[in-house]
């Protein structure tokens, strides 16, 4: 009996030891954390990319690494201007609807294949193929025949091929790509720098449709090429010697961590494991800003933080009441004391970051502010609005926001300001993100937090959200005049007319106030002082192509 018990004790001890050994030896021990001497930049992508195939990518976790792996027909320079990318130049027809792109000669994919116009035609039609199920296929709807092909439910392959052939993108030869658009789209040269418009190597896609899932089969045409992809751990890319601008690329490579927690990423930056920290935790932003830290930067961001009103629900059916609410809050308190990242109070929808008709001034500067904060006027408007609605006082309502401490604190501040300035009782309703979106679509809310990050640098990215037919309006607000202005802007080839009607549309929107602008976002980030050459266009994450470690 005793011997048996001894054997069992030994077995337990052995198991414990085995587990300890497993624990200690179970990892690969050759990982290096700092690569400064090798000129490798360490950044954090925050999350695992859902896909690194340009047709399937759908958000910042995909687009940020993709920006460094691919180059579209055009790209953005450090000033945010559109400059030639894979195309050395392009011609635009007199009706502004046909673009002819001339590709640079001698461009190669990272596997040595030549980059051709056929690759672009193939890639764009691949995005539009309904079977690809690309989230961002609609970004190509500007092209003639694109929407019909993408929305087709045709089962007959021959008929589908016919629809694909009607998509007006055509490789005229190896180096010339012709695109015909539905309407004149002055920002089309920008759109083709967007990742959904990136080319893919036709031969690779046809021989291995899963090429983008593994670093060993990944082929790209940008400044870097993918060398390692450990899912949920990290991505590694090295300089692509086949890239046409390789002499300007100083980094040997970029390592991308995938740490979700902003605080954790910040601690990694502090511990020297990251060279660039973005995005930063809110309290850290305030701290760095007040300390005037040398490694702290605030870059512009083409996006707006706003509240939606449900204009189908009384008393938010009344524009005067909506305007009163918009006028009765102090945005500076919110930006200075809550958001703390150098954000600018917003008195219009379109953020700073898009050029106006003259190509120099910002759309926002030309348009200016559409309202002011004025408590007394807000009180008068509220009283008038309530009278018109047959009410004696403002009913209690909730601000709905999705789970994030910043949203909560802003909602608390706004509720407090409405209480103090207008005597309104406001409740707060925290919902999970998907639930919030679901309820917004169903117009099951009173006031809801929202925001919009632009896809491209044109006011249209904000303004067409609020047309009557937009799937994203979610306010119940419909205005024929507004729709007409947006339609004119979409069909006009004259930049002056386009910009004028977009200013008019924004004025209509701000007069009716179905949404209440709060602030224009910024992009605060920290980058080590020995890192140079990082730049941040307003509608993009920091671009590392020309970065260098000194």
């Amino acid at each position: 009996m005793i011997r048996k018990m001894q054997q069992k004790s030994c077995a337990i001890v052995a198991s414990v030891l085995l587990m300890l050994i497993l624990a200690v030896t179970g990892c690969d021990g050759n990982r290096s954390d700092t690569n400064a001497s090798a000129n490798i930049l360490n950044v954090n992508n925050s999350s695992e990319p859902g896909s690194l195939h340009p047709a399937k990518a759908q958000g910042t976790h995909e687009s940020w690494p993709l920006r460094h792996l691919f180059v579209g027909l055009t790209m953005k320079d450090p000033d945010g201007k559109v400059v030639p990318g894979a195309a050395k130049k392009w011609d635009i027809s007199s009706d502004k609807k046909t673009y002819t792109f001339h590709l640079r000669v001698g461009q190669q994919w990272s596997n040595g294949d030549p980059v051709t116009a056929q690759d672009f035609e193939f890639a764009w039609k691949h995005v539009l193929n309904p079977a690809t199920a690309s989230d961002y296929a609609y970004q190509l709807y500007y092209i003639e025949g694109a929407q019909v092909y993408n929305e087709s439910r045709e089962k007959d392959p021959a008929k589908m091929k016919a629809l694909a052939d009607k998509v007006a993108v055509k490789a005229l030869d190896e180096k010339t790509l012709e695109v015909k658009l539905v309407n004149p789209t002055p920002y089309f040269d920008q759109l083709v720098s967007f990742y959904t418009y990136y080319p893919i190597d036709k031969n690779v896609q046809e021989s291995n449709p899963k090429w983008a899932n593994d670093a060993s089969t990944f082929v790209s045409n940008g400044p870097f090429k993918l060398t390692e992809w450990k899912h949920k751990r990290d991505l590694k890319m090295v300089k692509n010697e086949s890239y046409f601008e390789k002499d300007k690329i100083k980094l040997a490579g970029i390592n991308w961590a995938m740490v979700e927690g902003e605080n954790t990423a910040w601690q990694m930056y502090r511990a020297g494991k990251l060279d660039l920290a973005f995005p930063l935790p809110g309290d850290v932003v305030g701290q760095l800003k007040s300390q005037k830290a040398k490694d702290f930067k605030i870059a512009p961001e083409f996006s707006t933080y706003f509240y939606r009103f449900n204009t189908t629900k009384k008393p938010f059916t009344n524009a005067k009441i909506r305007t009163a609410l918009a006028m009765a809050i102090d945005r500076t308190i919110i930006t200075e004391h809550i958001a703390q990242g150098g954000q600018k109070p917003a008195y219009a929808l379109v953020a700073e970051g898009a050029r106006d008709a003259n190509g120099k001034d910002d759309f926002r500067t030309v348009g200016g502010d559409y309202f002011t904060e004025h408590v007394e006027q807000a009180k008068r408007l509220l009283a008038e609005g309530l009278r018109e609605e047959g009410l004696t006082s403002m009913p209690t309502f909730n601000i709905m926001y999705n789970t994030l401490d910043l949203h909560k604190r802003i909602a608390e501040a706004i509720a407090g300001m409405w209480k103090q300035n207008l005597g309104i009782d406001v409740g707060l309703e925290n919902t999970e993100f998907k639930v919030k979106i679901d309820r917004e679509h169903k117009l099951d809310y009173s006031v809801a937090r929202s925001g919009w990050v632009a896809d491209f640098s044109d006011p249209m990215t904000f303004l067409d959200m609020f047309t009557s037919i937009s799937t994203q309006n979610d306010t119940g607000w419909k205005n024929k005049q507004y729709d007409a202005k947006i339609n004119t802007a979409k069909q006009s080839s004259d930049p002056a007319i386009r910009m004028k009607v977009m200013h008019d549309a924004e004025a209509i929107l701000m007069k009716d106030m179905p949404i209440m602008p709060i602030y224009f976002y910024t992009k605060p980030y920290a980058v080590k002082e020995n890192v140079v050459g990082v730049y941040t266009p307003a509608d993009e994450y920091p671009i590392l192509n020309y970065a260098d470690i000194k």
Binding site: K8, V16, M19, L20, L22, A23, V24, G26, C27, D28, G29, N30, R31, D33, E48, P49, G50, S51, L52, H53, K56, Q58, A131, A133, S134, D135, A137, Y138, Y141, Q147, E151, R153, N213, K230, H231, K232, R233, A257, M258, V259, E260, G261, T264, A265, Q267, M268, R270, K273, E432, F433, K434, I437, D438, R439, H441, G451, W452, M465, S470, T471
Partner: protein, 309 residues
């Protein structure tokens, strides 16, 4: 014993089926859609995506197809990631969570038992007080606070260990310690009270009267009997630890299963939610079964239903 094991396995499978069915139903009842976002997706694009993932088919068909795929251990695609399936998620994430969980379990059990035994043997003396104060602190401090403190002082200020991510054995130390704290405190308290009870038993007095050495009495008779309640809880503790702690994995940027589970829910990624639930349930059921079987091994007085005495 064989009959008992088979019977338990049958119940386990039935339980799993109930879990799958309930989870499948609940997922569809929760508001929100896997593809809804603040983006501008037109209806045509939305329909393409639904068709791609076969979500345009009737729910009953989806359910039957899911069960059929599950028979071949195919957990399906992730609706949020084109580059990775749920099987990949589990294959990549589970070893990491298992590694972290086992390490935390070893730390928690070893030190928990040690503190519990010391506390009981030195009942109402200073080692008892110290052990129990440590245990109370361990149970009171949430592991995310300890994790933050460890990162701040051990990783950033001292620079001795990496603050986050996964890769070398050094990366495993801080998260294991943070994760082990709560089970360690819990086991210490459980072990102490259990030991105190056993120490009062007649057979311990008999053993002492027989002149057995103190070490043998403690090792062979006291700990062996006192450890039973700890073993009872071990299944659940182990299942929790090895299937991943979302908070700890999130704070330390660890690519385990905990994060996958929670993100799956936020994203309404149906196959990920189902896959992780089924996988978690299977582990839990298996571990509980193991614990039940271990009972008979540790304490021969316990017999299983139907077994002849």
């Amino acid at each position: 014993m064989v009959r008992y094991t088979l019977q338990r396995l049958g119940w386990a499978l039935l339980t799993l089926w109930v879990v799958i069915t309930v989870t499948f139903t609940l997922m569809r009842l929760v508001p929100g859609d896997p593809f809804s976002s603040e983006g501008k997706m037109p209806p045509g694009v939305y329909e393409n995506i639904k068709a791609y993932y076969h979500l345009d088919r009737p729910v009953v068909v989806q359910y039957v197809e899911y069960l059929r795929a599950l028979l071949t251990f195919d957990f399906g695609p992730s609706l949020k990631s084109d580059s990775i399936t749920v099987n990949d998620y589990i294959r990549d994430g589970f070893p990491v969570s298992l590694h972290l969980g086992l390490q935390a379990l070893v730390i928690g059990v070893t030190f928990g038992i040690m503190f519990g035994v010391i506390a009981a043997l030195y009942h109402n003396r200073w080692p008892d007080y110290v052990s129990m104060i440590l245990a109370i602190i361990g149970m009171s401090i949430p592991n995310f606070i300890l994790a933050t403190v460890l990162i701040q002082y051990v990783a950033v200020e001292w620079g001795g260990l990496p603050p986050a991510t996964w890769g070398t054995w050094q990366h495993t130390i801080l998260p294991s310690v943070a994760l082990a704290l709560m089970p360690m405190a819990f086991i210490a308290r459980l072990m102490r009270s259990s030991m105190l009870e056993v120490l009062r038993q007649d057979y311990i007095k008999t053993a002492k009267a027989k002149g057995l050495a103190q070490t043998i009495i403690i090792m062979k008779h006291t700990i062996r009997n006192a450890i039973l309640p700890v073993v009872t809880m071990l299944g659940v503790i182990a299942a929790n630890l090895i299937t991943g702690s979302f908070v700890i994995e999130h704070i330390f940027g660890i690519p385990g299963m905990g994060e996958m589970f929670v993100k799956g829910i936020f994203n309404r990624d149906y196959p990920v939610i189902l896959g992780s639930t089924v996988f978690y349930s299977a582990i839990l059921i298996f571990l509980v079964l193991l614990v039940d079987l271990a009972y008979t091994w540790i304490d021969p007085r316990i017999t299983v239903t139907g077994e002849s005495k």
